[in-house]
């Protein structure tokens, strides 16, 4: 899959998981400030991404992930999808 496809998939999963409209889930969106997602919400969202893409995202790698774009990049790196 290419980056566009990945981005769409990740955003769809996040929108569903966080129960927010997909339009709000842009790469620039910040989890806490823009999407009202607290730390537990983020853990749950990451579980959904792990499930969908069959990857493992350890907690240490989640540190510093503040935006949707960073989450997309994290998954992209795991899957070897180039920007």
């Amino acid at each position: 899959m290419d980056m566009n496809e990945l981005q769409t998939k990740v955003c769809t999963i996040l929108a569903e998981n966080l129960s927010i409209p997909i339009e709000q889930v842009t790469p620039q969106a910040r989890f806490q400030e823009d999407l009202d997602a607290d730390s537990l919400d983020l853990v749950e969202a990451v579980l959904a991404l792990e499930e969908e893409f069959n990857v493992t995202i350890p907690e240490e790698e989640m540190e510093g992930v503040r935006t949707v774009g960073q989450a997309i990049q994290l998954v992209a790196d795991k899957l070897g999808v180039a920007a």
């Binding site: 966080l18 129960s19 009202d36 579980l47 499930e51």
Partner: protein, 395 residues
């Protein structure tokens, strides 16, 4: 039985049953296939989709009941720090726990939801209701099984009476109709084996053989007289007294002579400053088990003496089934409504009298009556007895 007070009261006084074949999952293979389920419940009527996802069904019911009660009370203006919340339950968020057990077995600990603990903990409902309203007054969850709802409203009553709060939302909630609980209760010989959903719950009837498991929630709004009077509140009844005891006898069976029940009823009457002869209506615990209904009848006779034969007694579990942690709260509400509306709901499915249970159980049809003092019994697995008294409020 419906969502909302008027729907519930209408069905109750019409003698309608809320029991059906289990639909929320496939009960094939289970020894019991009927229950008092709530169908097509949409939690997003009461909370955001995100909140609904993050909370167990038991919390959905609790928040819905609390909001319904608060609306019905006219959404009074209160000091949040002086408003208590007590929401009881039998087992709390069991659905979430059972689901995550499956996830754990299939995928391991790393895939467990971070919300598991706050979803399954029994106090979740009490906490979430406080959050929904912003009430920072005293907040508890009491988990005395089938007596939990009565303990819940009783403790809230004490908080308000003792001056810890001016108002309270008090109630109980339960959403534990799952294959594992049906199997568990069935194995303990607690559930009826009668396959006819609307006729299986038959308290005090000679052919009763166990209870019907149900789910639901009920909340009451309690206030001090001053607080209620000051805002011209519509008052259903005065919360008059609360008594409790333990059987200290057996973990599931009641004391056959109802000794613990006797003690709790007497304590309740004493707390209310009332005599047994003053009771007009008893909403019985009346689970439709051979043991409870007999022991409860004996207890009522012991406390009331000859008046036992002149008091109206009914078990609304004949219609609702047994909502476990919510039952005591629902039934305190029923007692208040009987006083307020002057109608006593029936014990339906009463067909064959029993030698031991020979009192007036308001069989099959609701009865118009002037009810000044009503008592509601709740006796839980573990031997917990909680009895509340409500009386007509004369300002």
């Amino acid at each position: 039985m419906g969502i909302g007070l008027e729907t519930f009261w209408s069905r109750l006084t019409s003698g309608k049953s809320g029991v059906s074949r289990i639909r929320n999952f496939d009960p094939a293979g289970l020894p019991v296939q009927i229950a008092g389920e709530i169908h097509d419940f949409d939690p997003t009527v009461w909370m955001t989709p995100k909140e609904a996802k993050r909370t167990d069904r038991v919390v959905h019911f609790a928040v819905a009941a609390a909001k319904l009660a608060w609306q019905d009370a006219g959404e009074p203006s209160v000091d949040p720090s002086r408003t208590a919340v007590v929401i009881s339950t039998g087992v709390g968020g069991l659905t979430s726990f059972v689901h995550q057990l499956e996830v754990m077995a299939a995928k391991g600990p790393d895939r467990i939801s971070p919300f598991l603990v706050p979803q399954m903990m029994p106090n979740a409902s009490a906490g979430q209701v406080a959050m929904a309203f912003g009430f920072t007054g005293p907040n508890e969850c009491i988990t005395t099984a089938c007596a939990a709802g009565a303990h819940g409203v009783g403790e809230a009553f004490r908080m308000v009476r003792d001056g810890l709060a001016d108002a309270a939302i008090a109630g109980g909630t339960e959403a534990a109709i799952l294959p594992i609980t049906v199997a568990g209760f069935a194995q303990a010989h607690a559930l009826t084996k009668n396959p006819d959903p609307e006729r299986a719950s038959r308290p005090f009837d000679k052919h009763r053989d166990g209870f019907v498991l149900s789910e639901g929630a009920c909340a009451l709004v309690l206030e001090t007289e001053e607080h209620a009077a000051a805002r011209g509140a519509r008052i259903y009844a005065e919360f008059a007294g609360f008594g409790q005891s333990a059987d200290a006898h057996h973990i599931t069976a009641p004391h056959p002579e109802g000794l613990g029940a006797i003690q709790a009823i007497e304590a309740c009457l004493q707390d209310a400053g009332e005599t047994p002869e003053a009771i007009d209506y008893i909403n019985a615990h009346g689970t439709s088990t051979q043991l409870n209904d007999a022991a409860e009848t004996r207890a009522i006779k012991k406390v009331l003496g000859d008046h036992a034969y002149h008091v109206a007694i009914s078990s609304t579990k004949s219609m609702t089934g047994h909502m476990v942690g919510a039952a005591g709260a629902v039934e305190a509400g029923v007692a208040a409504m009987a006083i307020s509306r002057g109608v006593i709901p029936p014990t339906i499915n009463y067909e064959t009298p029993d030698e031991v249970c020979d009192l007036d159980y308001v069989p099959n049809q609701a009865r118009e009556a002037t009810v000044r003092l009503a008592v509601s019994n709740a006796f839980g697995f573990g031997g917990h007895n909680a009895v509340v008294a409500l009386r007509r409020y004369d300002s």
